[in-house]
Assembly symmetry: C2
């Protein structure tokens, strides 16, 4: 095996499998998808920092989608920020898509208000609070439509990248993995360095109780787990994995939220295991408040994790420097898109090139306001 | 100029421009889109033969979309046929997409009942009868969304194919071109060799009168013409042309219906003229009951027409042989998809190969029932 990883990428999890998969798709052409959705869970004060206020978190997924497609936000004033003005990771996603010229599809998993752009519809609706115990409608249709889409995309592309923008999504991810018994404690990351782990755990346990569930009760019914305590993004992306991975590699772009999607997919069809890669960021892999390696070991020790070695320490913009202090770290498929940009260019696209483009995107958006 | 047209393709209209455009995209990678929509116009008895009965014409666009994506029809029993059992041209579209592995997007321009597949949504609704004089809602949004989509697809593909499945669509195309004054008589084709031209003309004139319009009144307001007497497919596809053609060539896949879309697009932005090609079939070009060359001369004499030289005379299936007798001739982008398959394969894909695949698709669908 002579395959050399470029400095832009790091490898964790099953590294040998990762090298094999990367070699298969190196220099080849993939497609990037991002499924955006709302869950009212994000409006529970203290749950989500993906927005300046709890109510504004409802606009974040839609704004991210608009940003990727239009290079500006229509649904609200300004761009999605965490409290303190830290800009959405969609800035890196957009930079990676710009440089790689990778095709992109936005999927409306279920937004309260539709993005002001053409999107793929899958019959999803805005999710209810996880505390209700009946959080998501139309799960089976969204899952089936995801499968159809995954199969179709695999027919015409060499690999498929999936991702999400769902404020409050680490909480629903935690809830689904607890319902399935994948984990029994909170190993999730957060877009804030001050991850309110116990509060999230308490919120989720309220939801499980409302659904009449104990930890692990739905080990064999992941779609039911989504219906009870998940979010509308999850069935779509699990479906895409099941539709695409029998044919081409799937890059699961994201952090602990997407690990839950992977857990769901592996439960529904364990055979996809050999054809999925988690694609994420250095920031997430080094998050001291979460344990991505420990979480992935629970989901499956045989999944390779590829991460982009982005470093914002020398950025002239404080909002971007904050990524180095533990803010944001992942989301909107920024890790997956960046990893895929390196892959599709056979390593020609580097982290310094991506950083320059992030700055260009950031300036461009700021100038538009 | 040494570019040699393969036997699979014929050229008409501005042939020199056609050769230049073909050479630019020869062997390159495009994307196929099909916008499906309903207009209640097709339920007026005698207007449309794209369905076994007037009421069944409402299912034809949705069934075509399902056929392309799922290889089977979910929304109704059987596959879309013209009276007498002549199968939908989607059979050729699917064959071309299968052989070329070209990416495909289905856009729901406005169907009464949504296709049972993931589609791009553009805010369109089922159109009303042309006779009402207020036939289409949300025209401006659908047009803007088409523009966004066209620009996005052009960013990541070397050319874009647009097409339609709209039963009753030649009548709404006629209506819009009369309202714009592009034509003053019925030069439209039909999916039947017995094209009820006068009846369609009378129906359309009823619509113009209901809208308070005379021929040519909306020469400078094509979107208003769609609102009054068009169908929901038209603004989306006109938008895609305007979004994509400034960047990459657009293949307008279809016959006289898509000529109307081209007329709309050229009126809104004459500069796209140098970057569009009409992509159609030999059957349409030789239709004795319509005058495609005469119509295109009215729309613009500077548009090249490329057609696929398919011949079903030796097919073992009578339903396919009927294409040689003047039935169907075009639709669901079959001409555009077949032309694009030849282009993307740099001429490696031939008409005999397409014919074999059409037979495989046809047998496969029949077997599924």
């Amino acid at each position: 095996m002579t395959f050399e990883l470029p400095p832009a990428l790091g490898l964790s999890g099953d590294e040998a499998a990762g090298r094999r998969l990367l070699e298969r798709i190196w220099g080849k052409r993939g497609i990037f998808t991002c499924t955006v959705a709302n869950t009212l869970t994000s409006t529970i004060p203290g749950i989500s920092e993906a927005g300046d206020t709890p109510e504004l978190t409802m606009f974040t997924p839609v704004a991210d989608a608009e940003l990727l497609v239009l290079n500006r936000v229509v649904c609200m004033k300004g761009l999605p920020i965490n409290p303190g003005g830290i800009p959405t990771p969609a800035t890196l996603t957009k930079a990676a898509l710009d440089l790689s010229r990778m095709p992109m599809l936005i999927i409306d998993g279920g937004c309260r208000t539709k993005p002001n752009i053409p999107c793929i519809e899958v019959g999803g609706e805005c999710g209810d609070k996880v505390t209700t115990g009946h959080a998501v409608k139309n799960v089976r249709q969204a899952f089936e439509y995801g499968k159809i889409l995954g199969k179709e995309l695999a027919r015409t592309h060499d690999y498929v990248v999936i991702s999400e923008s769902v404020a409050g999504g680490t909480t629903t991810a935690l809830a689904v993995m607890l319902a399935m018994g994948t984990i029994r404690e909170n190993l999730m990351s957060s877009s804030s360095p001050n991850n309110p782990k116990q509060f999230k755990m308490d919120t989720v346990m309220t939801g499980l109780k409302a659904a009449g569930l104990q930890i692990g009760d739905l080990a064999n019914d992941p779609l039911k787990a989504i219906e009870c305590v998940g979010d509308p993004m999850q069935p779509v992306n699990a479906g895409i994995i099941l539709g695409a991975a029998p044919h081409v590699p799937v890059i699961v772009g994201g952090g602990t939220q997407m690990a839950a999607v992977l857990a769901i997919a592996l439960k529904l069809d364990p055979s996809v295991e050999g054809n999925v890669i988690q694609g994420t960021t250095r920031w997430l892999m080094s998050d001291r408040n979460a344990s991505m390696p420990a979480l992935m070991a629970k989901v499956s020790p045989r999944i390779p994790i590829v991460y982009i070695n982005m470093d914002y320490a020398d950025s002239p913009y404080e909002g971007l420097q904050a990524y180095e202090w533990g803010y944001i770290k992942e989301g909107v498929g920024c890790g997956g898109a960046a990893v895929a940009a390196v892959i599709s260019s056979a390593g020609r696209i580097t982290c310094p090139m991506l950083l320059d483009q992030v700055h260009a995107v950031y300036r461009d958006i700021m100038h538009c306001e």
